[in-house]
């Protein structure tokens, strides 16, 4: 009797466990299939978009009327953006695939710039046609490679989950068809983009890092860096300072300093250029207490700090309070012309009004030629081009970097339309509306 009962309990337990195991297994399977399907969708979509990209680029080559060329280029821009986003959804970040990503993003940029341009007035140049041809040819190669990989994936039921696994475990010997296929694509793009076929109009698109052009001067030593830090941060001299030099990958050599004051909690960090010993940035990680001074007072102290360290001719552009610190942005101003790329940011603690952060990265890497050009148009002439709905409240001259990363002298207008505030930049020699931005820095708290 007891035996039978035990047996029954055992049977129930076994069946129960079996059922539970089966449920677990199928649930896990469902999740895996779901993840795999996401990858498959991104991959097949990518193959399709590249196909389309190739076709559209081909079509633009044959077009002659500006009326059809602009929309076609706009479509190329859209397709390139979609393909770019598809690549971002595939587990390729451990695989060198950046050249292809870059290629897609450059096609996007090139087509955007040509699409928004008035081709009636400024048709595609010979160079640009050459670039377009090169893009077409390259897209064709990528298309072929991808279609080939796609065929193999479909034929052999290949799974992207295996790719992810192979990449994660760094399985070198495994001959994964997908990985090999993508490596081939990457290699092709690489050889292609290093060739000169693209023409200068395309190469120029690459964001060249200019480095700290302002940091000129003889290289300083580690000890000099310490001295600069002591002076800049107003240290007492009892702090422990550790200096390391930047690695080979840095565009410009610099020293990184970690400053530990045995008395206060939190370290101060600072980077100083090797050439000339310019402070790039500094950040104090000490805990900050309750606010005791106002934002306005903090701004004054920030300004005084700049003056004390030979940053002359700066004016406050923006001030923002975050809890117990404020972030200030100062820009260079020459004869009333604001030079926006030459900005310095600062963080001031509201508990004691001391500077707890400083960064001059933008200022140091800006290379706006001087003297600044004179405006060809008068402010009155330019003001007529401002949207009549906009109520202009402030105006001045300003230098900004435009869409093409070129410095341009503009008239800046601050104005309101409805409840919103807008910042407009209109080119002072061509009258072109270079940039319009809605200024919004306040967000309601949710919940």
């Amino acid at each position: 009797m007891v035996r039978n009962l035990l047996l029954a309990v055992l049977v129930v337990a076994v069946v129960g466990t079996g059922y539970w195991g089966y449920r677990e297994h199928s649930e896990k399977n469902a999740i895996l299939i779901h993840a795999e399907n996401n990858y498959q969708r991104a991959f097949h979509d990518l193959a399709y978009q590249i196909d389309l990209l190739h076709d559209k680029l081909g079509a633009t080559l044959a077009m002659n009327s500006h009326a059809s060329l602009s929309p076609a280029l706009a479509e190329v821009w859209k397709i390139a953006a979609e393909a770019h986003s598809d690549v971002g959804q595939l587990p390729l970040s451990l695989l060198p695939f950046n050249k292809t990503q870059e290629f897609l993003s450059q096609i996007g940029e090139f087509s955007y710039r040509t699409a928004v341009r008035d081709l009636e007035e400024e048709p595609l140049t010979k160079e640009e046609y050459k670039t377009l041809q090169a893009l077409y040819k390259n897209a064709g190669t990528i298309r072929q490679e991808l279609r080939n990989v796609q065929h193999l994936v479909l034929e052999n039921n290949l799974r992207w989950m295996d790719v992810e696994l192979a990449l994660a475990t760094n399985d070198e010997k495994g001959d994964n068809i997908i990985i090999d296929g993508f490596k081939a694509v990457e290699k092709n793009v690489d050889t292609f983009s290093s060739s000169s076929e693209f023409g200068p109009s395309f190469i120029g698109l690459a964001n060249e890092e200019k480095g700290f052009v302002r940091a000129q001067g003889r290289p300083i030593t580690k000890n000099e860096a310490k001295r600069i830090a002591r002076d800049f941060l107003g240290l007492k001299g009892t702090e422990e300072i550790k200096v390391t030099e930047s690695g080979k990958g840095a565009d410009d050599r610099f020293y990184s300093l970690t400053i530990r004051d045995p008395k206060t909690k939190g370290d101060i960090y600072m980077d100083i250029t090797k050439n000339g010993g310019y402070p790039i940035w500094a950040l104090n990680s000490r805990p900050i207490g309750k606010p005791k001074i106002s934002l306005h007072e903090a701004t004054n102290r920030g300004m005084a700090f700049l003056k004390r360290h030979q940053f002359t001719g700066f004016e406050l552009y923006d001030s923002t309070q975050y809890d117990n610190v404020v972030v200030l942005t100062f820009v260079k101003s020459e004869n009333g012309i604001r030079i926006y790329p030459e900005a310095v940011q600062m963080k001031v603690a509201l508990d004691n009004g001391r500077i707890v952060g400083f960064t001059a990265r933008d200022y140091l890497s800006s290379s706006i030629p001087r003297p600044l050009p004179k405006p060809k148009l008068t402010v009155e002439a330019v003001k007529k081009k401002v949207n009549p709905q906009l109520k202009v409240m402030e105006q001045r001259q300003a230098v900004i970097m435009n869409d093409l990363q070129k410095p341009v002298l503009c008239y800046e207008f601050l104005g309101t339309l409805g409840d919103e505030t807008y910042q407009l930049f209109i080119n002072a020699s061509t009258g072109l509306e270079e940039k319009v931005e809605k200024l919004e820095s306040v967000e309601p708290n949710y919940g």
Binding site: Y39, H84, S85, G88, Q89, P91, L92, S93, N98, K99, Q101, E102, S105, E164, L167, N207, E209, T244, S246, G247, G249, A250, D251, F254, T258, G266, Y269, W281, L283, S285, I293, S294, L295, H296, E297, T299, D318, S319, T320, Q321, Y322, V326, V327, Q345, K347, T359, R361, D362, M393, T416, D419, E420, T421, E440, S441, V442, E443, P444, N445, Y446
Partner: protein, 263 residues
């Protein structure tokens, strides 16, 4: 003339109706655009009372408040500088009323409300909130182009990836996310970069869903506001755990804590 008289009578009646309205005023600080807190609430309420400010009384000195203040300064013959200094505040207090208890109560309850002069306060409230708010203001400053939720998402990623790192290492990880946004090889959105498959281990193993601490959030804010301790890096790795040979081939910029940052 007649209209003005009516308005004045109305205001007079209102004042009689609300004897609780007090003129307890501003702290001595000069209030400047970007400021947050009680003084800003009072400033907005008083400017709204006079009809200069039509936006929400949220305690954050944004552009709307700025123009309202300037218009007030112009109308009242003050130097137009957009700063609420002693003289501006004195004239403002003289010209307007501030029903502090009413305003604070509405903010605490999360109600939608206004503070115009000449309209009974009871008509200026739309019950919305459930009450029990502890925050002093109903809005916050955010860096341009980022919402509080973007910051939160980045803080999650930073906390998951680098919570054991020194503060500067956390700022650097946040800076890498931002550098990737700008870089052609990477997706163009915060979520796209963070959730790119295989990009961050904390995303892959779910550590991103730990609740981030205040330090991670501050690190993200510093990075967004322009601090980049990574020196322009778009990759970083922990040399003790990195399995990929390729990552070692990247040109290295610097080491912070356990992470090597590279191009």
């Amino acid at each position: 003339m007649v209209r003005k008289l009516i308005v004045f009578t109305l205001i007079g009646v209102l004042v009689c109706l609300h004897p609780a309205g007090d003129a307890a005023a501003f702290s001595p600080q000069v209030i400047q655009r970007g400021a947050v807190g009680d003084d800003v609430i009072e400033l907005q309420a008083r400017l709204q009372y006079l009809g200069f400010y039509k936006g929400k009384i949220d305690g954050v000195f944004g552009w709307g408040t700025y123009w309202a203040l300037r218009n007030f300064q112009q109308k009242y013959g003050l130097p137009v500088d957009g700063l609420a200094g002693a003289e501006t505040k004195r004239k403002l207090v003289k010209a307007s009323k501030y029903y502090e208890q009413f305003v604070k109560e509405q903010i605490r309850q999360g109600n939608e409300f206004t503070h115009y002069g000449g309209i009974p306060l009871s008509q200026q409230v739309k019950k919305r909130g459930s009450g029990g708010r502890t925050a002093k203001t109903t809005a916050s400053n955010v860096p341009k182009g980022f919402s509080q939720n973007d910051i939160q998402l980045m803080a999650n990623a930073v906390y998951g990836e680098a919570r054991g790192e020194p503060y500067i290492g956390q700022v650097a990880v946040a800076a890498v996310i931002l550098n990737r946004l700008q870089h052609p090889s990477f997706p163009d959105t915060v979520a796209g970069v963070i959730f790119q498959p295989g990009a961050f281990t904390a995303v892959a193993d779910g550590q991103i869903w730990l609740t981030p601490n205040e330090t991670a959030r501050k690190a993200v804010l510093d990075a967004i506001n322009g601090w980049d301790p990574s020196g322009g890096a778009i990759y970083y790795f922990n040399p003790a755990t990195a399995t990929s040979a390729w990552i070692w081939s990247r040109p290295q910029i610097k080491r912070i804590g356990q992470h090597i940052f590279c191009k």
